[in-house]
Structures are given as C-alpha cells and as structure tokens.
Amino acid sequence: MGLRWTRLLVCLGLFCTAAQAGIGLPERLVLLGERIAAAPADQGLYLRRALVYSDTGEFKLALADVDTAAQFGEVANTYFVRAIILYRLGQFAQALPLLNQFIKANPGHAEATMYRARVQRDAGQHEAALADYRRYFSLQARAEPGDYLTAARLMVELAGQGRKGYSRHAALAFLDARIQQLGNAPQLQRYAIEIEQQGCRSSEAVARLEQLHANARRAPQWHLHMAEQQLLLARTEAASASLADAKRLLDARRPSADRAQLLHRHDFLAALLTLPTTAKGRSQRTAQLYQRFYPVAAPGSPARSKMRWSDFEQADATHTDGPEDPAPDPHTALAGFEQPQSAASRYDAAWAAPIEPFYRCLRNRQSGSP
C-alpha cells in the first residue's frame, strides 16, 4: 500500500482533523458556511462545500453535505459530486452508476465524461474507459496532453491483450491525428517514438525523432537516442556523428546527475562502435559491454545497488574475453569514460532503464530475431 493511501486512510479515521488535513484552507469553508446560513435551502452551496471538504480530505463531511443537498432539489444533480468523492475514496463500483445516470441526463457534460473515463480506467475497465476518453475528446476541443496519452496507452494495452479492433498501429494513428491537431505535441510524439522502439522499428523512430520540436535537439539525449537508432540501422557514421553531437553538448553542461547518466550512456554507445566486425564476436562483446556498463540490469547481476567507479575498474581489470574473439583491448569499454568527480556521480541502477529498449532491439538484431 502506497504512502499516499496510508495517509488517506489515516485521514478517514476518527482522529483526522481539519488542521491535519490542511491548515489555512478553511477560509472557503467559513464563507460557504455563512452563505449556507443565509440560504439554507440552496442545493448548489452544499455541493460546493462538499467539494471543498473533499479537497481537504474530509470525505465524511463531504458526503454529508451531498446528502443534505439531495434534500433541497433534484437528487440527480448531486450524482456527479457524489461520484467525484467516491472516486477519490477509491470506491469505483459505487461511483460508476452515479456517473452513468448523470451522463444519461447530461450527455454533453465533458467533465463528467472524463471522470467516468478515469473511474473505468482505474477499475480496470479499459475498453469502456477508452470509449469515454473518445467521447470526452469530442466534447472538449483541447484536452490535457496527459489525457491523450492515457487514451493512447489504453489502446496499446488493449492491443497487447489481443483485443479485437485494437493495434499499435491504431494507437500511432490516434497520436498522429492529435499531433496534427495540436501543432506540436512532443509528449505525444515521444510516446509514438516509444511505441516504434518497442517494435524495434528504427527507421520510423528516426523519422519521428526528426519531427520533434527544435528544442529537443538542445538535449544531449536526443542525439544519444538518435545514435542508438542509427546503430540499430547499422549506420555507423551517422551514429558516430550523433554521438559527437551529444558529447559536445554534454561537455558544455555543468556536472550533474543527469549529465553523469548521459555521459555513461554515451560511453557505452561509443564502446559499441569499437566492436569487432565479425558477427559472432560482436554479439558476445555487446553482452559483455552491457554487463560492464549496466551491471545491475544484466541477467544474473548482483543486487541492485549503486556502484563506485572503482567497481568498474576492478571489473574491467578482471575481465577476460571469450575464446571466439580475443582481439579487443580489455579496456576498450572504458576508453574515454570520464571518471566521476565525486560520489554524486556513482553509477545508479536507474541509469539502465533508458537504454534497455535499445539493448533489447540490438540483441534481437544480432540474434536474427524480428
């Protein structure tokens, strides 16, 4: 159970006070209390206060206000607010029928449609969630980029489950249509690149990288990403050029954790470019390099812990090449690797995540897998 939910449950207990839930907010509650005192039969005021209570984590008081609101007007008007509160409490099964009734009465209500999409998504009803996201997009000309991404992810997930009518291609088409509509949507394009990369479609990934906003090229990782795709396409010259661009940008950066991680990734890719040309030797050395650069990510690696530079040196000194390919210098992998200046630049297990998709495609290509 996450810390957030632990806190939420604590807050639902008897000892949760307004002060614990949020000092200072009560200005609104005081004002709404005064307004309710002046107009005690105003349904809307109770609903507004219910949402403010909900914002402060006072869910019991919020639901009590919804109950009161139901006494002063159409009960159906209260369904949406009650559903929001129930959703926040994680009571998806109770929230859903209320939203169904509310939307049936108000079919053009964009926010309620979006909430139903989220409720269904979180309840695991992904097909229905996706349908509601689509409805929401038709009601709201311009949604948040995260909502478009959620819809695209649902499409990919449904495709992965083999559900009829869903495919990665359809998800890409959806993203492209939205990119076209929004003019420039790097969040969506980056997810499209991720989808292409999952399928090891490097030409398509390169084309999409090229389409990213110009600002992306100021980032060293854009060039590293490009180098990876060029490597997969066996375009070594282009890969080298991209790596050189990445290095130039990295050299101009102040030392930081981000820079250290990117330098590490750069050096791994640079080392890959030095590998022997024979297919068998290349494949073996690729695995060895990966294990050396990303030790905790490799199969059979030790515990996922941070490693010091000395660990690399020790690993490299004890490394022996396989019988098929004795030629390479055992220190090739570390050639040009900038020694971190401090403990802050230690290798971190999290550094492996960005390169794992590339490495998987590289191994697939080397083994002849699709």
């Binding site: 810390l3 957030r4 806190r7 604590v10 807050c11 002060a19 614990q20 839930a21 949020g22 000092i23 200072g24 907010l25 609104r28 004002l31 307004r35 809307g44 005021l45 507004r48 949402l51 402060t56 984590g57 006072e58 949406f80 929001i84 509310f102 108000n106 209500h109 964009a110 926010e111 909430y115 989220r118 998504r121 948040e144 980029p145 995260g146 909502d147 991404l149 959620t150 003019g183 420039n184 790097p186 969040q187 980056r190 906003h213 600002n215 992306a216 090229r217 980032a219 060293p220 854009w222 940008l249 950066r253 102040r254 030392p255 930081s256 954790a257 981000d258 200046q341 401090s342 802050a344």
Partner: protein, 507 residues
Amino acid sequence: MRSPGSPQRRSFAALIVMASLLTACGNSSNPTAAMTPGGPVTPPPSNVAKCAGGEVDPQRLFLQQVGADRAIIKWRGNKAGGAEAMSLCFGTDRTALPLASQKTATVTQTDHREVLLTGLTPDTLYFYSIGGAGSALATRSFRTAPALGAAPSDGNVRLWVLGDSGTAGSSLDATGGMAASVRDGYLKWVANNGREPTDMVLMLGDAAYLDGTDAQFQSAVFDTYPEILSAAAMWPTIGNHEMGSSGVSIAPATALYLPGTGGLGDALPDSPMPYLNIHTLPTLGENGGEPSNTEQYYAFDYGNVHVVSLDSQVAIRDAGNNETMKQWLINDLSANNSDWTVVIFHHPPYTKGSHDSDSTAGGVDQPIFDIREQYTEIFEDHGVDVVYSGHSHSYERSFYLKGHTGLEATFDPAVHAENSAGVPLTGRGTQAYRQISPNSGADDKVVYTVAGSSGQATTTAESYPHDAMAHSEILLGSVVIDASKTKLTATFVNVDGEVLDDFVIQR
C-alpha cells in the same frame, strides 16, 4: 503611492489620457504634448507617417510572453467608458509610433483584446499605444529579452516574485491595502537601489482571492499593479484558489466555472477557469523551452535565465496527467543549459507557515507531498537553482538542499544541505553558495523558498520554523531575483523597502 482606485489616481489617469489624445490628434509641436508624463517629447522624423488614433486607457492592460523577438500586449475595457480599443501602435521612438506598426487586436476569451508582436529586436525598449495613438504614455513600454543565453544590456535579469498576493478587494484584506503595501515596498527598494526596471513578474498562485474569478483578478491583479504589468510580462503559476471547485464544474448541463464560494463564473467558450481565460501562456515553446501543449504548465527562456512553471495540483487531479507533466519537465530541463534555472509552482515542498509540510495529507496539502516526493529529485538532478512557491502566507527560505524528501524530522543538515563541518551554509556573505558545490563537485542543490506573504502574512504551524530553512518570516513582502552572468542574488523585501533576507549563488 496612492491606491490604484483612488480618485486622485483616476484623475491622474484621465490627465494622461487627455494629454495623449491631444498628442495623437494634434501636430507634434503641440505644446500640450510636453505635458505627457515621462519626459520631454521630441519631434518625430518628418518622413515617417505616425499613427493617428486616440489613446484608450483600458481597465486592464498587461504583457504576456515577452521574449527576445516577440511580445503579447493584452487589454480589456475602457476606463473612460467609451468604445474598447481594437488596435495598437508600437515602435522604438516613444513620440513617433509609425502608422505601419499599427496592429489590429484579436478578441480572445472573455472579451480580452490581444496583439502578438513578432520580429522584435532583442534587448530593445519598445513603446506602444492602445487605440493607435502616435505617441506612447510613459508607462507603456517594455524591453524585449536578450538573445538566448545572453544577459541584458544592464547586466542583470530582474524577476519580481509575488506569492499569494490576491487579497486586494477580498474579505482577507481586513486592514486594507496589504498587497499594495508590498508593491510599494518593492518600488521603494527599487528606487533606493539603482532603479533597475523589472524584467518579469512571477506570480506564485492565489493571485485573486477567494476563487480566482475574473472580477477578483481585476481587483487583486490589474488594479493593484497596473504600471508594472504594462511594462513587464506577468508569468503565473496556478494556485488552489484559482482552481474553482476542484477544477471541475458541478453545473449539471454546462461547463461553466463555478467559484467555490459563489459568484459569477466566466462564460464559455474554451476554458472553464478564469485563470486560463485571462492569461495567454506559451504552450508551443514560443518563448523557448519544451512545448507543453497546456497552459497549466509551461517553460520559457529569458536571456540567460530559464523559467519553468508547474501545476502542483496536477497529481491530485489525475495520475496520468502528473506523469505527463513530470516527463515533460525532465525533457525540458534536459534541453536547458541556461546560466540560471528558476522553477515556480504553488505548493511548497517544505513549510511550517500557514500550511504544514508534515501534515497528514490526502486533500488540499497532498500536492506538498507530491512535489517533495516526486519532483525535488528531478530539480536537483537537472541543475535547477532556485524554486519558489506560495500557499503558506509566509517567507521561508531554505538552505542549499539536496535529497530531503521526508518529513522535517528526517532533515539532517550534514546530509541534505551544503555545509561546512555539518553546519549548513546560509548563502550570505562569505557563505555564498556555489552553483557547482565544492563538496559534491556537481550542480546538485536547490534553494527552496516559500514567498507567499505578498498579500497576507498569517499563521504558523507547530514547530515553525522548518529546520531546513535558513530564514523565516511571517511578514508581508516580496522577493527580487537578480540574475547576472556570474551571480544570482535573491532578496526578500518588506513593505518598507527593507531587506530582511538575501542569499547569493555564484557561478
């Protein structure tokens, strides 16, 4: 300074309008032109056709997206009660705004008029007139940003930071004029410290109490800082008092914004929130930075300074949108190599002011936990220098921090702060911070500041002040950031124009 709505001020404004009209309608040698405040009027070149319209004094006038080569001038209403202006003229000669510069305004959400100026020259002073007059009032000018990476010609980017300033006109302004007194304190400090102009205004949310309605924005923002906002771009972040009823409409059949405490919401079309209707924020990387495709969060460059505005409440609205913003932030910061990086959002990661960053969350203060647990590491790993928030109505400025993601009790200055023998450095005098820490050899630390006392200074939480803070005050004030090529200085100025805290980061 008199209060913006006072009769004296209105008379002064009328004088300005009258003088400008005379200037625009008459010939350039008209002696009344010399009455225009702001300095002597020089005759225009005889071969340039001047704009010849009349000056209009809008009810609200403000600048958006001022960059190196572009700016948006936005306005609404007419104080004199006549027709609203539908065009503007601009140029580099205040007394001779060329006819060729005249631009027709676009009518945008909630009846605002706005004009996008493009093709401007970096680091250049431009003058403008609303309504198409041939001369500009003294208060109607702005300087474009320097070229990317460069410092301005005066050597310094000046950012004025206001948090939770929106009390003017609300029931929270019990004594009257609290926000105006903060403004006047800043102006007094500027007057006593070289008169360097404001390059931009950063607003940390809750700029218009209690609900961020359009009318409340009028009182708390446009009537409170008219001269400043007509000369420097306003860059906001969204506060909890601008989110309406949890950011959603509860109206059964429309998407109208409903203020939590009642009152009139804005009309459609696009946005259900007045904050989004009022501002025109960069969503497509217009001013540099990673395009966000939403006005809820965005980034921009201003010469050698990069600024990121986050929506600290996005995580409580939807996990998917939060992940999207987080990834966007990483991509933005990864492409950024500015001398200085400033991040603003409403909910502070560390506070013991009117909100408590140790409080049980799950509601209005959940964003405090979200930011601290999910975002501070990103800032520290990607070279962010300073972070500014509001929400607590206090001034709380931290040490130079890294890796403090827990409750106050877990704070260890020897671990989490730039220190000398375990004693945290203050950032002042000989203890000035270095952007690249001598201890770690990396640009890995951030100063986090709560600057939420620009409209009210209220209560403190138990165990105030927070142990991670180098300086805490429960006093009205605002922050000035001066960023040169080699040094960033941040100063907390009170209502008397006095400095109560400052620190320096050296490059």
